[in-house]
């Protein structure tokens, strides 16, 4: 099969090219010279662009190799599935079905033939390629290797990441062009005497970091084992650290970088715990082995024995019983990492601060790479999550999406609005994943990546055009000055708001958000106790539309608020607008067809088997997880609700910001409490300050006091004692020890003087000594052993 070798090869090339680019860009050229050349940028673009081409070819090859079975099999999916769900006999009695579900709980074989339509129905993922690229080391039974695990999700992610990254790279070439100098003046950083910081441009360094970032993200997506994911996870973290803190001279940038890094560490600590549990109990890191090992019955429940333990057979053939609680711990641990990376409640505070980096970085971090990594991992690790964990994920997502959306309503910095919207949308994804909408969550991940990168680039274009002004209240009416930016931004805004004319025209955000809301509705219908999981996203759909249109109206609509800025604003050069157009096309059209569309079907092709049918309530969890059919039932209803919410939010925004019928400052005064509460981001930073930092400071002060007063005193006292002891010791040394040594030395010396006489310095005598010695030796020999 051509795909078996070609696809991993192509993806490996696409993955490694940015690393090569990183090396070349870092090492390129002489000092002085490399700050002023665009060469590194072209190099980076070439690397990631080639990567995109490779990914695209791999995707097409994959489709060719599987005969696009994904798309076809899922065409039957909805109604057929529905039918089989309705008929429990058919479902339960089909031995074939059971066998295929049990054996191939998450099919790992290189290729599963899908010629049999019966199989195709139940095994919706036609092919998975997994294998090992390179074994790094074997420590006992622990094998650390670079693996790949390629299914349709991987391919879609690869294509999406490389495409967006290519656009962002191109955009950044325009955006970062003012770094192309030996004397860059940073207006936001000041030296101690109050002057602006002058430094050589860091154009090449920016692109080197970007390349490394892409390499890390692609490695994470390609990774075939959880340990490798962790490694690239951390690499992504360090790259984001480097890029957020790109303007190192600015204190705010440094702080933001530190914050992002530290927040991520908190999450990664949980991740490590999860890793330990996985390694200790499953004995392997490989996805292909891990997903096999968890037994599920026909209904999708994890099989437990009487003691509540899960019997698994590890890859080495050993059978083990894992306490169910440990599965929860493992799942929560890994999810903790995702919380950190995807900026979920309660670790969401780093993300808005990460706006300190250059805007292309924000675009990359917020759409395709860093934050997507968390969602991607949840999706990838999905078969290992037990219902309790999923519920946690859903609640965390719900809280996050609501929280962030409310903050976004009052934010005035254009990038911050987008940042909060990112958090909010990530919350949507997590929620979708948590309520058993595997494909819905990842669908939203992909569509969000497109329109969010589009919007960030648009905002970057605005900032670039307005000479690094980011405050929305100073903008307005820019539509006339930068029509392309405004238009593409509007597409992004419509997409994220989920506005559509159902059945006629719908941008990508509408479809994905619809899917999530529908899943949530199906979920609360099955579990009415968790009604918040539907209400919050529905409400937030309205809020989202509100604050997004608020942003657009603020920025592009109406009359200019700051004439000075308006006068100097200009449309960005083609190298920045071209990516906008490309991304706008994708933001609008990538989800064409909705749940019958190609993208969704591709994603569905990688869905874990037990998801499709849903999981009925069991004795343990008492949680019903809706299957596709249940979701399908409520889809239309949920879609209407969501569309209504979005339209109302849009109208509200138009009324408040598009027309001048409402005095905004009055409103602000009237709602001062809420406004204050929201614009202080629900006081999370203060809360963390009070909860963590202050106690630490106080404890530290206490310890410092203990140090100074008690320990130092003891140390001083012992020092004095030591001085006394050593004085005595010196006396002992000088008299007894030295005396002995000197005695030996004198004896050696005098014997040396005696022996010196033999060393005459005459070679001939030495020769004679040798002869005498030999003769004497032989004499002894002869007398001792006569014959």
């Amino acid at each position: 099969m051509v795909g078996e070798t070609l696809i991993p090869t192509l993806l490996t090339i696409a993955w490694l090219l940015p690393l090569l680019g990183f090396a070349v860009e870092m090492l390129y050229g002489r000092k002085g010279e490399r700050t002023t050349t665009k060469w590194p940028a072209w190099c980076a673009v070439a690397c990631i662009g080639t990567g995109f081409l490779c990914s695209l070819i791999a995707l097409l090859t994959w489709g060719q190799a599987t005969g696009w079975a994904v798309l076809e099999s899922h065409d039957l999916h909805g109604p057929d599935q529905h039918h089989s769900e309705d008929d429990p006999h058919h479902h339960g009695d089909s031995p074939k079905h059971q066998a295929s579900t049990n054996e191939s709980g998450w099919q790992m074989t290189a290729l599963t033939a899908t010629e049999n339509s019966d199989d195709a129905e139940h095994v919706p993922f036609p092919s998975v390629y997994s294998g090992t690229l390179y074994t790094l080391g074997v420590f006992g039974s622990l094998v650390v290797s670079i693996d790949y695990y390629i299914d349709s999700l991987t391919l879609v992610m690869f294509t999406m990441v490389t495409l967006i990254a290519t656009c962002i790279h191109l955009f950044a070439m325009g955006y970062m062009s003012d770094e192309l100098t030996n004397e860059y003046v940073d207006h936001f950083a000041h030296t101690s005497d109050g002057k602006h910081v002058h430094r050589p441009g860091r154009f090449y360094r920016f692109f080197a970091y970007m390349s490394l970032f892409c390499f890390s993200m692609l490695g994470l997506v390609l990774a075939g084992n959880i340990f490798q994911v962790f490694v690239f996870w951390e690499l992504v973290g360090i790259c984001s650290y480097l890029l957020i803190g790109f303007y190192t001279e600015r204190k705010s940038a440094g702080d933001a970088a530190n914050k992002a890094f530290i927040m991520n560490r908190i999450g990664d600590f949980g991740f490590l715990i999860g890793l330990m549990v996985v390694w200790t109990w499953f004995g392997t890191f490989q996805f292909s082995e891990l997903f096999d090992s968890l037994p599920r019955d026909a209904t999708g429940h994890i099989v437990t024995n009487d003691l509540g333990e899960v019997a698994v057979s590890t890859h080495s053939g050993e059978s083990r019983s894992i306490p169910y609680s440990l599965l929860v711990v493992a799942g929560l641990g890994v999810f903790a990492g995702c919380i950190g990376k995807s900026a979920q409640f309660p670790l969401q505070t780093w993300l808005p601060d990460a706006m300190e980096g250059p805007t292309p970085v924000s675009a990359l971090v917020h759409s395709a790479t860093m934050v997507a990594a968390g969602v991607y991992l949840v999706g990838r690790f999905y078969p290992m999550f037990v219902p309790e964990v999923l519920l946690t994920i859903a609640y965390i997502g719900a809280i996050t999406l609501f929280l962030a959306a409310t903050i976004a309503v009052v934010a005035t910095d254009i990038k911050r609005v987008l940042a909060y919207s990112t958090i909010s949308q990530l919350g949507y994804m997590m929620l979708g994943l948590g309520v058993f909408g595997w494909a819905a969550g990842l669908f939203h991940l992909i569509t969000h990546a497109f329109f969010k990168s589009l919007m960030f680039l648009c905002s970057g274009s605005v900032i670039h055009g307005c000479h690094h002004e980011q405050e929305m209240p100073k903008m307005g009416g820019l539509m006339r000055k930068m029509p392309i930016t405004a238009g593409t931004m509007l597409i992004g805004v419509i997409a994220i708001s989920g506005l559509a004319v159902p059945g006629l025209i719908a941008f990508s955000g509408y479809h994905s958000k619809d899917a999530i809301v529908a899943t949530a509705l199906a979920f609360i219908q099955a579990n009415p106790a968790h009604f918040l999981l539907f209400l919050l996203p529905l409400l937030t759909a309205g809020i989202t539309a509100f604050y997004m249109f608020r942003l657009w109206f603020y920025t592009f609509f109406g009359e200019p608020r700051d004439q000075h800025i308006y006068d100097h604003a200009h449309e960005s050069p083609w190298i920045m607008t071209a990516p906008l157009l490309v991304l706008a096309v994708f933001a609008a059209g990538c989800a064409i067809g909705g749940e019958k569309g190609m993208l969704y079907m591709m994603l569905l092709g990688s869905e874990p088997v037990h998801v499709a049918n849903g999981v009925p309530a069991a004795t343990v969890g008492e949680l019903v997880l809706p299957g596709h059919s249940a979701i399908h039932d409520v889809h239309a209803k949920a879609g209407m609700w969501a569309l209504l919410a979005a339209i109302s939010g849009t109208l509200l925004a138009y009324v408040l910001y598009g027309t001048k019928t409402v005095n905004l400052s009055d409103m602000k005064r009237q709602l001062a409490g809420i406004h204050q509460f929201l614009s202080e981001k629900w006081y999370f930073d203060e809360l963390y300050h009070a909860l963590f930092m202050k106690p630490v400071h106080q404890v530290a002060a206490l310890f410092a006091w203990i140090d100074r007063t008690m320990i130092d005193r003891v140390v001083h006292a012992s020092a004095g004692l030591m001085v006394k002891i050593s004085k005595w010791d010196r006396f002992f040394d000088e008299t007894f020890v030295d005396g002995l040594v000197n005695l030996i030395a004198r004896a050696t010396f005098s014997s040396g003087i005696l022996l010196k006489a033999v060393q005459t310095g005459r070679l001939r005598q030495y020769v004679m000594f040798i002869v005498v010695g030999v003769v004497a030796l032989f004499a002894v020999l002869f007398t001792t052993f006569p014959n």
Binding site: A757, Q759, T760, R762, R764
Partner: protein, 80 residues
């Protein structure tokens, strides 16, 4: 070796001694079951003697450069 004060003379003595050993090696190997082992040993001895001669001559030249003589009795700085 024992009668020469000239460094090169000593070297010649060394060569003679090695040569005597070679004769013994070859002769004994020829008249016993050793085959050609003796010849190979003496081949090694010859080669090593050549190497030794090269180094020794270099040392002698150095010595001459430093002391303007080649009398080894003058090389007594390390005398006890």
């Amino acid at each position: 070796m024992a009668t020469k004060r000239n460094a090169i003379g000593i070297l010649m003595g060394v060569e003679l001694v090695l040569n005597g050993a070679n004769v013994n090696l070859v002769a004994f190997s020829h008249y016993t079951t050793l085959g050609i082992d003796g010849q190979i040993y003496s081949l090694f001895v010859i080669v090593l003697a050549a190497a030794e001669a090269a180094v020794a001559l270099a040392i002698a030249l150095n010595f001459y450069n430093n002391h303007l003589t080649i009398d080894v009795d003058r090389a007594n700085r390390l005398k006890g």
